[in-house]
């Protein structure tokens, strides 16, 4: 979400928004106006302006839409008959994070996050508790987030939710074996919910340094998508996000990327010339898995620096939460390919830290857009868990997940857990499920809850295979009879967890 989006920012003291009518001439960056999008009018923020052939063009970000839908629009699509919101005047205390104001702002932040926590607990419960109501709200309103706004009715619920939350938080018994999920989760949420404006540049770099590859570089967030179209293999695609390819390439309407070595070219002539010389036919690493459908290659970022950098640049076009701030050395890249007589075509990949402090088994994961919605994502995820099983570890993808990532993972988790539960067992504990699937207990719990499968009955918790779930499963089995699902066969994985010396895990050049 764009950081300027003041209405989303709970830290904002409700300043009356400056509204008014605007003309084309008075529009400026930061203004929020209504834009026609797919037949409806949506509020959008202007992020950039450009003149093309004498006509003004605006790069807009639609509120509550993913950034990948940001686009350049001509002036005709702006609806200036409605009032626009002017950007709030920049506040000195936010911009200048001096040493003195820092402590202040931190204080403020802690207060704010507490408030936020309440919102979150309350609101999210509303959704999960009564899914029907939330879905109707979302559908009817068109704006699910309206639930998050503090309406009197919701506030009431909030206070109740707060009581129970505090009861739970307040009694952490020492030696209690039960995992206190609440505290962990809330702490994480509080950390994540911190308003981005409060970050100073130093904090940000520190954050980049200490956290994993999924952290966003704040300066990139509001970046306008910088590349034109991309020619890759048999396809042309539109990039979704900013990617730090050489600046010269951003001037081109189309850039060309070699399907095998992933090198990028600004001109077709150079690209065809490159193709005459390039001899690579598959990702430059060892094949560790092969079935009749796909192959997986393992590539060490340290040994194949150029290729892995090219891969990261490519994937950055489709991953918002990926940083290329640091180099590829500490990662391994697992690339999925399909084969034909031309070679092994890259379909998707995931990267994995050689040593993850947080126990992540995936850092970034991507199915290339032209192969999306074909079941490849599920294979990638399944493969990542297969590796974790081989390592005898429980794994989880690095956070934050993207919207598409969340949906893919949830689908995989549901399928995996339901498969385990439906093998005829009468009782199971959550750790067992985790051990069987290499999923962390947190992810198991998350999934069970989402599917409304954990219930409290007769004084104890039970796992309920709901009718809906069973029906879904049966439907799927029915479908598989005609069109079998692709699976990862552990027998075909020729892989031992690689061992790295301390020096090769780090940036030892």
């Amino acid at each position: 979400m764009a950081p300027r989006d003041a209405s989303q920012d709970p830290s904002e003291v409700p300043v009356p928004l400056e509204k008014g009518f605007a003309t084309l001439a008075t529009l400026r960056i930061g203004v929020k106006a209504f834009v026609e999008k797919d037949g409806e009018k949506r509020k959008a923020e202007i992020l950039s302006m450009q003149e093309r052939k004498g006509q003004p063009f605006f790069y807009v970000h639609y509120e509550e839409f993913n950034k990948r839908l940001d686009e350049w629009i001509p002036a005709q699509r702006l609806d200036l008959s409605k009032e626009v919101e002017w950007p709030a005047p920049e506040k000195p205390d936010k911009k200048k994070s001096g040493a003195a104001s820092k402590a202040n702002s931190k204080n403020e932040m802690s207060k704010l996050t507490k408030a936020q926590k309440r919102h979150r607990v309350g609101a999210s419960r509303d959704i999960s508790g009564t899914p029907e109501s939330s879905s109707t709200a979302a559908a009817g309103n068109g704006l699910a987030p309206s639930l998050f706004k503090v309406a009197p009715g919701v506030e009431n619920n909030d206070s109740i939710a707060l009581v129970s939350a505090e009861v739970m938080d307040g009694t952490p018994k020492p030696g209690d074996e039960e995992m206190d999920l609440v505290d962990v989760q809330d702490a994480a949420a509080a950390a994540k919910a911190a308003p981005p404006e409060i970050y100073s540049r130093e904090d940000e770099i520190e954050k980049l340094r200490t956290s994993g590859s999924m952290t966003q570089n704040q300066t990139e967030i509001s970046r306008v998508r910088n590349l034109g179209r991309v020619q890759f293999g048999r396809h042309e695609m539109d990039p979704w996000y900013f990617s730090p390819y050489p600046v010269e390439l951003t001037e081109e309407e189309m850039i060309y990327i070699c399907e095998f070595c992933l090198s990028y070219h600004a001109h077709l002539r150079q690209f065809t010339r490159h193709r005459q010389k390039c001899t690579l036919l598959h990702p430059p690493g060892n094949e560790i898995y092969r079935d009749d459908y796909v192959s997986f290659f393992e590539i060490d970022g340290r040994r194949q620096r150029t290729w892995c950098r090219n891969l990261c640049l490519l994937s950055k076009m489709f991953l918002d939460h990926k940083t290329l701030y640091y180099d590829v050395d500490p990662f391994l890249f697992y690339c999925m390919t399909t084969r034909d007589e031309y070679g092994c075509h890259l379909v998707g990949y995931f990267s994995k830290e050689k040593e993850s402090a947080e126990g992540y088994n995936v850092a970034c994961i991507l199915t290339l857009p032209q192969y999306q919605r074909m079941g490849f994502g599920r294979l990638l995820i399944a493969f990542s868990y297969e590796l974790s099983k081989r390592e005898n570890k429980l794994g989880s993808p690095e956070k934050p997940l993207s919207d598409l990532g969340l949906m893919s993972y949830r689908a995989y988790w549901q399928e995996t857990i339901v498969d385990i539960l439906m093998d005829g067992r009468t009782d199971v504990n959550i750790e067992e499920i985790g051990a069987l699937s290499a999923m962390t207990t947190n992810d198991v719990l998350h999934t069970l809850q989402n599917l409304n499968m954990v219930r409290y009955s007769k004084g104890q918790y039970v796992i309920v295979l709901t009718d809906a779930i069973v029906a879904q499963k049966e439907k799927q089995l029915e479908k598989e009879k005609t069109k079998p699902r692709r699976k990862i066969d552990p027998e075909k994985l020729q892989w031992k967890p690689p061992v790295f010396t301390a020096s090769s895990r780090t940036w030892n050049w």
Binding site: N157, P246, H267, Y342, C344, M407
Partner: protein, 584 residues
Amino acid sequence: MTRAGAPPRFRQRKLSTKQSLAVVREDQVDKVDDDPQRNIPKVETGVEKGEEIEHHLQAAISASQAAAVGGKVAQILIPTPDTIRSSLQYDDLYQRCFSQPATYIRFSSTVEDCTGCQYNLTEEDDAFLASMNQKRALSTPCTEDQFEVIMDFFETTAQSKQPFAVVDSPPVVPYEEMESSFHEGIDDSVWIFAREVYQHWKVERIKRGNRPLTPSLKFETGQERDDSDPYVCFRRREVRAVRKTRGRDAQSSEKLRKLRKELELARHGLAMVKQREVLKRDILASDRQIFEERMQVKEEKRRNGFKDDDEDLINQKPQKRRINEAPQIQRPSVVQPRIPSRQDGRSAEADLIPLQDVLAEKENEMNRKLEEKIAQHNNCNRGYLDLTRMPLTPTTEQTSTFSFRSAVTEYLPTPPASVSSEASGNGTQVRDESPTRGRGDTIIVRYASPTYEGPSHTQLSFRRRRGRGGRILVDRRGLRLQSPEEDIDPIVYDRFRYDRDDEDEQPTYEVDPYETLFVRYRASMLPISHKDHAAAVHAHSVRRLQQQDVSMANGQSTSGAPGQHRGHAPSSTPTSAIVGSSGL
């Protein structure tokens, strides 16, 4: 919103991950006390807060959740920008040349290894190349590959000569500087185009403000603004700082210097090898040329009916000689044996110098030098009378055990009777430069040394020490005491070494302690006046003894430890006879 109406009745237990949970179907659960979300905390989705509220995601989540609870909702997909099939012909770009190996692929070449020359021509380059080739229509045209090699060379050289061109914006590297690094590895045929291509390269380069022609990623340049530049990527992550000390600095710079030296050495070696191979190639080429020209000569001769001895067709004798003459002067001994065999047919052995001659020559040389030294020394000492006692101090004495003084040859001014034969293998000649005789005038003393086992064992030495009550003891060492079992295998002997019946018996020595020889020896250990001594035996050890007052208990065995004297001294060896008495 069931919660609003139903306040908590009691606090439920938290859900434990270790707790065994029953798996039931929905109809088995009592709907009434199901309050599912009450005490199970909502788990984070893992999506960033700002994005969690996104319209399409929420719609998709709702849809999937609705499906999970049995609602009839079509699956909602999150919209993404479309991809379309490319207008380019895939087959024009990619060849069908992949054949899958039976085993899993193992591969370690890098992108650079697999993509050939890193420079790819542009359309401008095409135009230039065409015009250039048109101009040189007759000669060999420059191929695209050659052109790329040259361009790549200019690019990489410019990069290495001006690594900070992006920051400094220096002028374009001049051609002369480029030329100086024209180098190995690239075929010479390429360089003929270099000058022309350079002009083109320069133009292109200036067009881009002297930046690399191929766009490259932005890496950190160590400047402040790097951090905020979103195009700067793939930074090095800081390695934990090692504590810096002066010693470490010196150490690493030393290491680097050493490494550099070694690399230089290797490089030099390779350069030399290369030079040699180039020379070899030249030789082969000229040989070939000669051969071919000879062929022609032969043809000519045949055609014209010449009949001579074909001297000029076979091995080039005169030529060879000329080659060999030069080294002959410098290293006659090495080259000589080889040449004459070719020149005059004499056998090579005839010219070989026999080893004996060489050795004799060496010895002569040595003797001459010695003589020279002696003469020189004599010359120096002319007119002086050398009264130095012990002018040459044997060094071995100094290094031997300090308390024991070895009794060297000087104890035996006359040979013992038992050694008489001139041909005795043990006989050794000793040049004794006694100060009393004239210089250069040497006497030869012959004596018999005990059968040698090793110097340490045979060095006969004595020690005088003062015991309690002022007794003076003389210990001896270094005698090789031959045991009767001498002929026994040493291993067997060693086994029974300490296994003897007469353990406590006093050993018997078949030696007369009052024999003149021994008496004289013992007498020499008494204090003697300096004057007499000059004429007498002048043993180093003895001289030391003089300086102390010695009251000698002759022939009396006082307190010798029995173990020290065990063994039977055979009378046959004179040296052992001297010290026949155990402790003096």
